[in-house]
Symmetry: C2
Subunit: 205 residues, 2 copies
């Protein structure tokens, strides 16, 4: 029944799944960077990845599934960055550990333009989608309890909790303000401000 001009069909290769998933997640972030989530249609994403639209439903079940997978990918990168900076620290004093967490949150993988825009879209969307909201809260709590644990090695309960709350907010705020300015994000300045806050909280025991 189909009308065809040429008898050219795609050449299936085995083991394409992980490659296609990666390609489509990357294309999703790029599309969001270019036109925003609302206009990041599956046709646009598929074209950018060099595949047809059907493949998105095939591997991710649909657009929603692709977006969630993209966000999980970014969260995975953040977790990796935290491990990387933690392991690169000489000793494991609260001071060094806090600095590592701060550095990780401003890691190159997190301040990339397309990643930052995807984060913003994620926040706005997560408010109406329970599945994304859960993802968001898990991440939120992890940052908070990480910070809390480190502060608690030096400060009493309440002070540690408040210090963690403040530092978590400062990190998010610096990151948000960095994301919202169109021109470059001065990461080092943001890191320096967060370091200062962390150090002051540690000193006030």
């Amino acid at each position: 029944m189909q009308v065809k001009i040429k008898e050219i069909w795609a050449v299936p290769k085995i083991g394409m799944e992980p490659i296609r998933r990666q390609q489509l997640i990357q294309a999703t972030m790029e599309a969001i960077d270019e036109v925003g989530l609302a206009d990041a249609t599956i046709a646009r994403i598929a074209h950018k990845a060099g595949v047809s639209t059907g493949i998105i439903s095939h591997y991710f079940g649909g657009k929603d599934g692709l977006f969630e997978a993209t966000m999980r990918h970014i969260l995975g990168d953040l977790g990796q960055a935290i491990r990387k900076w933690r392991d690169s620290t000489p000793d494991d004093s609260p001071h060094d550990h806090l600095h590592a967490i701060i550095r990780a949150n401003f890691d190159r993988s997190q301040v990339d333009r397309s990643v930052m825009k995807t984060w913003l879209a994620f926040w706005a969307t997560s408010m109406h989608r329970p599945d994304l909201q859960r993802l968001q809260r898990v991440n939120d709590r992890r940052l908070f309890s990480n910070l809390c644990h480190q502060f608690h090695r030096v400060l009493p309960h309440d002070k540690a909790r408040n210090a963690a709350r403040g530092l978590a907010a400062l990190i998010d705020g610096l990151w948000l303000r960095g994301a919202l300015v169109p021109d470059g994000f001065d990461t080092e300045r943001a890191i320096a401000l967060a370091y200062r806050y962390a150090d002051e909280q540690l000193a006030a025991n």
Copy 2:
């Protein structure tokens, strides 16, 4: 040419424009609160405001215009809150002025659920729409230069700028984290943390 069952037509009353604009802006925020910007269709908004879809284009030129007007309304409320808290302060010391700015940013008009969700949608959308981006930057700069001016009455240039940058980020971060938790936003705790930061910066001259 229209097919009618009943001979009932709307009863136009003069001077409806400001009333309709207010109704539609309110309905927009409620719709965003309920289903998010993407699903806040003009049909839904119009129904919620108790008017027909055509009226949105009539008064706002379209959906985009309505969203921008909604955001301008929220920004206007923020400006009003800043004036309110500034005027309610006994003297105009840097300390009191900073506290007033902090209070205004956590004013009831700004921590309302529908307002917070609209803010989030605004941030995500502003990244791809120059008109909204300008609106966003004007607001950003106003907060920063307000803070900077107050800190500068006590601190030298560089320290004032860093203190302002830090406090602006802390305010935004506390606000963001408050917006993202589904259950209530502990405004007083956020205000207390911001106060503490402001006070510590003022003391470190």
